[in-house]
Symmetry: C2
DNA sequence: AGGTGAATGTGACGTTTGTCATGGTTTCTG
DNA sequence: CAGAAACCATGACAAACGTCACATTCACCT
């Protein structure tokens, strides 16, 4: 009996995994859960580690159990673009697997990540045997497709200032607030924010100062607190 | 026996529809094709007509038989953003149906369009009964998701000049060349091109003049011919 | 076929944004 | 805990781009 528990223990039994009911796997039969349990591999990654690399062809997917990861790709000018984040219960690599294309983004752990690796064959067998599961995946993919469309419109039409405001709101929506500090519960460098917005790091720094000056946000190092959300919504022209 | 045939007759029999084997419906059983045949409704739209409207909830999908349509959405500043085009065999509205969300884009006929309307119930019954069909849809959605990711990176990081070059190449790739003129086989106004690139119409006009001056393209009204593709690829930094 | 409204083209100008340079600060690592 | 490396910040400047105004041309409709 070890006296020390890890911070985020991965349950080795999928049947008891509290995350499953929230995830795409909620509609698996108990036999399928058993199968999943037998073949999945629990892994963990340290902050900064690469979980999957752009351009490679994965043989399975990761289901994130705890921790946060960023999906980013390298543009033609050497700049990184952060596409999205993956957290709790999110599936990683499924797009590439299902469209039979190389990975379109690199997945990097932003903090320590625990994740289960699910082999390609198992995923496909579920897809063939379980229409509900299939529909779950399809629904998710279609939802993400819609989100991507929104993003395209935003990036193409909005100014950097507007996009930054929107990104801050999005981060709050996705990661929530830190219990103690009330700040947005994710730590990103200015450069990473710039890579989300698609602008130069200096521009982000200047705009964050501006927002601070206007009383929209409060900044303590990498912790950002939203003070006037309504105004930030107006600045970012976020109306949906 | 009518003496006059329409330009693009829609075959009322799906079994004989030459487009089917290229489309997502290629893996339907003959029974399913019969079913499709019985319930589908052939419709046509004139140039400029709206086939589906952003924000509404469709009760089925269109499968395009001939003609071209554009999918566009209205940004927060009143500017249109063209998301993509739909042609030959493309399915329209499936994203919204499958993700159970309102349509994220308006579909407008760019020329006369013939299309088959397939009710929601039929589509879903195929999805449940035919895993191959399901996988086809899933594969397509995942592919489009990858394309969307690429687009996001491009728009976020590239200059307007680079994006315009890329758009021209994309149009050529998607629509091919006109047999007679050798120009890109689609007619778009400068404003529509601007709405693809995400920039002001004037900027597009100026850049098109520049490209013409540099010998990259030839312009006759709305017909654009690519003269130096290799150089255009370099200008657009298109390397994949 | 010809008029009319939309689309194209051009110039001037201001704003936004990117780039480069430099120095101070925080964070990480051994 | 100290040194190194990454990160943050600010200024100056240039380039890219958007906007407005107006002239011209084209495409579409009856």
């Amino acid at each position: 009996m070890s006296s020390k528990t890890t911070h985020n223990p991965v349950p080795f039994d999928c049947a008891n995994c509290g995350k499953r009911h929230l995830s795409l796997f909620k509609d698996l039969t108990s036999e399928e859960v058993d199968e999943l349990n037998n073949v999945k591999a629990c892994t963990s990654f340290k902050k900064g580690q690469i979980m999957m690399s752009e351009g490679s062809r994965p043989n399975g997917v990761f289901c994130i159990h705890s921790g946060k990861a960023k999906l980013h790709r390298l543009g033609q000018n050497g700049k990184d673009q952060i596409i999205r984040f993956a957290v709790n219960g999110d599936l990683i690599g499924y797009r590439s697997l299902l469209s039979e294309e190389p990975l379109s983004a690199t997945v990097e752990a932003l903090e320590d990540v625990h994740a289960c690796y699910i082999p390609k064959q198992v995923l496909f067998s579920f897809l063939e045997k379980n229409p509900k599961f299939s529909l779950n995946i399809l629904r998710m993919a279609c939802h993400e497709l819609g989100e991507a469309g929104k993003l395209i419109t935003d990036i193409a039409q909005k100014s950097v200032r507007e996009r930054l405001a929107e990104v801050l709101l999005m981060l709050k929506a996705q990661f929530g607030l830190n219990e103690e500090t009330g700040a947005i519960d994710i730590t990103l460098t200015r450069e990473e924010i710039a890579n989300m917005v698609g602008t130069a790091t200096e521009s982000v720094i200047r705009l964050i100062s501006e927002f601070k000056g206007d009383g929209l946000i409060e900044v303590k190092g990498r912790n950002i607190t939203i003070l006037d959300e309504a105004q930030l919504v107006r600045v970012g022209k976020v109306f949906d």
